[in-house]
């Protein structure tokens, strides 16, 4: 019994390593810059969705305001670099730390809310933050921040000639987010989170401090999302409030996990691999006037999934496994 469990954990790890290795080799065969761009975004959203999944999937506190942490990461890195010359690597850590602290500060009042009320609070807070940034002159207000290019360098994390360094960073980020989830899944926190999601009263009676569990999940989740935001700022090298803190980012973090399987280890990866290329392709096929068509496409996908496979796409795999046993 015990070994069965250990085997499954090890199998997950091996599968992840193989997939990461395969992904690392992909640029050898894919030279098209447009496709490379899609791969970078897919990996980034896989990482973001995996991080979102920690708070919303495992701990069950559905957040539709994670764009806030994404934007905080992006802005912290960009501001530190353009105003003080701080390297993006430190900006990334600073952005992560600030986001984690803010997530806990916001969690303090918000985690008293349950269910839909919590979701509404997260949306409203992210929108308020967006408005604040839009009116903050020092941070470029609505115009945003242009990150000056000073030549290709790993130190400054800027690359103009090739997308590959971004690709490998995004891959590393996705791997880290996956690994953190994998590791937390079989830790006290992982069990506490799932218990809190399923039944907070019962969890409390078993010694789980529900409030602390939520705070921990929020901090880890916000930290990782902010690192993703920092990366995005470097990747696009120009940010404005709407382009890093808009509501669509909150959705794009939630949807892959929901599609793939919320609260599962593989759900976000699977969801991102399907959803992000689909979104990008619809966008480019439909062209400039078609903004919103991508939303229709994955809106339809989500409806189909929630009707046919309410536990997400990963349930297809576990069903087959169950039948084989």
């Amino acid at each position: 019994m015990d070994t069965h469990f250990a085997q499954r954990r090890r199998r997950d790890l091996i599968v992840a390593l193989c997939l990461a290795a395969l992904a690392a080799l992909a640029p050898l065969f894919v030279k098209d810059v447009y496709v490379q761009n899609i791969m970078v975004l897919t990996l980034m959203y896989a990482a973001l969705s995996q991080s979102w999944n920690i708070l919303s999937g495992y701990c069950g506190q559905i957040s539709l305001g994670h764009a806030l942490y994404f934007g905080l990461g992006a802005y912290t890195t960009a501001l530190l670099f353009t105003k003080f010359g701080v390297l993006p690597w430190f900006g990334m850590l600073a952005g992560g730390a600030i986001s984690a602290l803010i997530a806990m500060a916001l969690g303090y009042p918000c985690f008293r809310l349950r269910g839909h009320y919590f979701v509404i609070a997260t949306i409203v807070i992210a929108e308020i933050a967006l408005l604040l940034i839009q009116n903050w002159d020092w941070a470029g207000a609505a115009l945003g921040i242009d990150i000056p290019m000073r030549g290709d360098s790993w130190l400054k994390f800027q690359f103009t000639r090739s997308k590959l360094p971004y690709f490998y960073f995004a891959l590393a980020l996705a791997c880290i987010a996956w690994f953190v989830t994998w590791w937390l899944e079989d830790s006290k926190w992982g069990y506490w989170w799932r218990a809190v999601k399923d039944n907070p009263d019962a969890a409390e009676s078993l010694g789980v401090v529900v409030f602390n569990s939520k705070m921990g999940a929020a901090a880890v989740s916000a930290f990782l999302v902010a690192v993703g935001g920092s990366f995005y700022a470097q990747f696009v090298s120009y940010i404005d409030p709407e382009s890093v803190m808009g509501f669509q980012f909150s959705l794009l973090m939630a949807l892959p996990a929901v599609l793939g399987g919320i609260g599962t280890l593989w759900g976000p990866v699977l969801g991102a691999v399907i959803l992000i290329p689909l979104t990008e392709l619809t966008r480019s096929f439909v062209g400039g006037s078609g903004r919103g068509v991508d939303l229709i496409v994955y809106g339809a996908l989500i409806v189909a999934i929630s009707l046919a496979l309410p536990r997400g796409l990963v349930s297809v795999f576990s069903l087959r496994k169950g039948a084989a046993r």
Binding site: A195, S205, G207
Partner: protein, 243 residues
């Protein structure tokens, strides 16, 4: 010998409703005590006060020599109060063993040991064969046993059982009774709320009868069931005359 649990003049009011008034009970170490009474007598409220779901309006609760009146539920679990719920509250999306691991984690920080411990508890409760099944797939009697297993995994000194034998078939209930005896044999004190008199009375060492929020009588089961006041509370005045 000091009691393991003592409530001293506990009151609980919900607005104008008095659920518990001046309840003082004590439970000795190693006892099985039954808390009985008709519907609305305040049994569940008293249970929640002891488990720490809410603090009493007035009075104090002493557990293991310490005043725990103001401590939250998680903290009381840490100190050795385990409980089950009248309406089962399994972690439905988790497997049976994972449910129990949540409880085991409070005493064991190493995952491997917590898992081992959880498995032992499942064997003790006769659920080991169902370890890898989702809690949502259990039948009602198994869910009740899972509640007990989860609470036992926290290694409680006092186990609060809230109607674990209610709604079971006679055979299932008998298995439950044996489980409670086994639990006591390991040195755990048991306080149980129960409706089914003929099952609970042979099991408990002592019964406390609540009625209208107050302690009506307490004593040996045989004495309690013959007490005219108890019969009145349960069946009305007409039947008490015959007793």
């Amino acid at each position: 010998m000091t009691a393991l649990l003592e409530t001293r003049g506990v009151w609980q009011r919900f607005g104008g409703l008095v659920a518990n008034s001046d309840v003082s009970i004590s439970v000795g170490r190693g006892e099985i005590v039954g808390l009985i009474g008709p519907n609305g007598a305040g049994k569940s409220t008293l249970f929640n006060l002891i488990a720490g779901v809410l603090p009493p309006t007035q009075g104090s609760i002493i557990f293991d020599g310490e005043d725990v009146t103001r401590l939250p539920a998680a903290e009381r679990c840490q100190r050795g109060v385990g409980r089950t719920f009248q309406v089962v509250k399994s972690f439905e999306t988790m497997t049976v063993i994972d449910n129990v691991i949540v409880g085991a984690l409070i005493r064991n920080t190493k995952m491997r040991i917590a898992r081992q411990k959880a498995y032992e508890v499942l064997e003790f409760c006769g659920l080991a064969a169902r370890a890898e099944v989702l809690a949502s797939d259990l039948v009602p009697s198994e869910k009740r046993r899972l509640e007990v297993a989860r609470a036992l995994a926290t290694e409680p000194k006092l186990l609060l059982l809230d109607e674990v034998l209610t709604g079971l078939t006679p055979v299932e209930a008998q298995t439950g009774v044996e489980l409670v005896r086994k639990v006591r044999a390991t040195g755990v004190t048991v306080l149980m709320v129960e409706h089914v008199m003929e099952i609970v009375m042979p099991l408990v060492d002592r019964a406390i009868v609540l009625n209208l929020g107050k302690v009506l009588v307490e004593g040996k089961p045989a004495e309690v069931v013959r007490n005219p006041e108890v019969i009145t509370a349960y069946l009305g005045d007409r039947h008490a005359v015959g007793a």
